[in-house]
């Protein structure tokens, strides 16, 4: 009986979004009379930071500071359609829709500015600080604040835009079954080191080293936060989480979330995160979906590390002490 060490590695490709008969998200953007911009979505920010990212995307496209953008989300009664925040699709799908809507709004904004400055709209550019300038003659400029006032009260224009991003439904080819469920894949690789007590079956994850390739990180600190939390969740999936933990008698089983096991602050592996940015071809400013994929590679990596440590393949999650002990018994030739 001993504590045995093992190391496992796993790599994954992970689709951004999914395709269940077409995968659309729509967005609307409009300016207020004072030249702030409002993004309307029915997508949900559940803490991953979608509002911040959509504000950045809208601001970048229109050419204003991020704090000039307000994002309203999560009302499916009033917002334009979104398939939902799942499958790591939020940034990619909603972001593309916001870019399209913001481009249309920007075009109207430049047209109004062109009328005010008596130049061609195509000769105008934004300075990112809330002003519109004549290219090559920046002394001729107008603030977006004044453009919005003019649009509302003088010119009768709506500085607004509609955005739509749709990955059309992909049908499998009859002959081969081949299909294209996703257009954009994120990638990750994890090396996990574990200790397995072959007497109790208990697994301790010592270290996890993760590399994530997520397209462009639109907000690097928030990406890092997502990946750190996700890596922890991956270990949680690998070793802890189940709604049906094994009990000889189901009456003793868990009945509520408070009996749903997850690693606590005292059970943390030493975690390392490395981000590789390879901008995606069809993502908003090159982004892919880092959401769910970041909790995946730890699972096979831990399973492989357990195999490396004690020589048994656990093919059911979570990898509980009980499953390890049964597998060790079976390996030794004893009846289960």
């Amino acid at each position: 009986m001993a504590i045995r060490r093992g190391r496992g590695v796993a790599a994954i490709n992970y689709p951004t979004g999914m395709n269940l008969g077409g995968d659309p998200t729509q967005a609307l953007v409009h300016s207020t009379p004072t030249g702030n911009f409002m993004v309307t979505l029915s997508s949900v920010d559940l803490g991953q930071g979608m509002k911040q990212i959509m504000a950045q995307i809208c601001a970048e496209t229109i050419g204003v500071p991020t704090d000039r953008v307000v994002v309203d989300t999560a009302d499916t009664d009033t917002g334009p359609h979104c398939m939902g925040t799942f499958a790591s699709r939020g940034t990619h799908r909603a972001g593309n829709a916001v870019i399209q809507a913001a481009r249309e709004a920007r075009q109207v904004m430049l047209e109004v500015a062109a009328e005010e400055l008596e130049v061609n709209a195509s000769d105008l550019e934004t300075d990112g600080q809330g002003n519109i300038l004549v290219k090559g003659a920046p002394q001729r400029s107008i603030s977006i604040f004044d453009v919005a006032l003019s649009a509302h009260f003088k010119r009768g224009r709506s500085i607004s835009g509609r955005g739509m991003f749709l990955i059309p439904r992909s049908y499998p080819e009859k002959e081969t079954g081949a299909m294209k469920p996703s257009t954009c894949y994120a990638h990750a690789c994890t090396v996990a080191e574990v200790e397995v007590d072959d007497e109790t079956g208990e697994v301790t994850v010592l270290t996890v080293k993760n590399v994530f390739e997520i397209g462009r990180a639109l907000n690097p600190k928030m990406v890092e936060q997502q990946l750190v939390g996700g890596s922890w969740m991956g270990i949680s999936h690998a070793l802890y989480e189940t709604t049906e933990p094994y009990y000889p008698n189901r009456d003793h089983g868990g009945t509520d979330f408070n009996q749903y096991l997850m690693p606590g602050p005292g059970d943390l592996a030493q975690t390392e995160i490395i981000v590789l940015e390879r901008p995606s071809a069809d993502g908003p400013y090159g982004a892919k979906g880092p959401g769910e994929m970041c909790a995946n590679p730890q699972i096979p990596a831990v399973a492989n590390a357990v195999f490396d440590a004690v020589g048994v393949r656990i093919d059911t999650l979570p990898i509980t002490p009980e499953r390890i002990l049964r597998a060790l018994k079976a390996q030794a030739g004893a009846p289960n």
């Binding site: 559940l46 803490g47 991953q48 930071g49 600190k221 928030m222 890092e224 936060q225 997502q226 750190v228 939390g229 996700g230 890596s231 922890w232 969740m233 509520d256 979330f257 408070n258 997850m262 606590g264 602050p265 005292g266 943390l268 975690t271």
Partner: protein, 160 residues
């Protein structure tokens, strides 16, 4: 049912309410008084989201009857900032990106505050121990642990 009077200070301000007997402090704070910083996660004492400080001690407001708080001094996370300046713990949580959905955050900050009030320079293990009654589903805890350690350091620098 007859209402019972209850009187305490909340973040230094006198509060007096008539409540139904049996009302939890969590319910009284959120729905009567309007301080929604304590969160109701499990309503049965297992998640820590509802944590508040009563007379210097960390308490679960979902398991505390409001009528037992007569004369008490209650602190919640919404009372920590002073004149628009965030408490060092709030600052550290922001800087460390120690909050995502934010549901656990007020409870975490309460637990951390009691720790730092009693142990200004805690070890990592002491921080882990202090936070172990609070569940977070988002962050993986490490950013929270780091935030508490950072706040402790900045407190001791300010004191020095």
């Amino acid at each position: 049912m007859a209402k019972v009077p209850v009187q305490f200070t909340l973040n230094g301000a006198e509060k007096a309410e008539f409540i139904d007997s049996g009302t939890t402090l969590l319910h009284a704070l959120r729905d009567k008084i309007g301080d929604t910083s304590p969160k109701g996660g499990c309503h049965q004492g297992t998640c820590g989201a509802c944590s508040v400080i009563i007379d210097g001690e960390l308490r679960l407001s979902c398991l505390t009857l409001a009528e037992t708080c007569n004369g008490a001094a209650i602190t919640t996370t919404s009372g920590l900032s002073k004149g628009g300046v965030l408490h060092p713990l709030q600052r550290a949580f922001l800087d460390a990106f120690a909050t995502q959905c934010g549901f656990c955050t007020p409870g975490m900050i309460m637990a951390a505050k009691v720790l730092l009030d009693q142990t200004p320079n805690p070890s990592r293990d002491e921080v882990v121990e202090a936070l172990s009654g609070n569940i977070c589903r988002c962050t993986g805890y490490e950013p929270i642990i780091q935030a508490v350690l950072t706040a402790a350091r900045s407190n001791s620098q300010n004191a020095a």
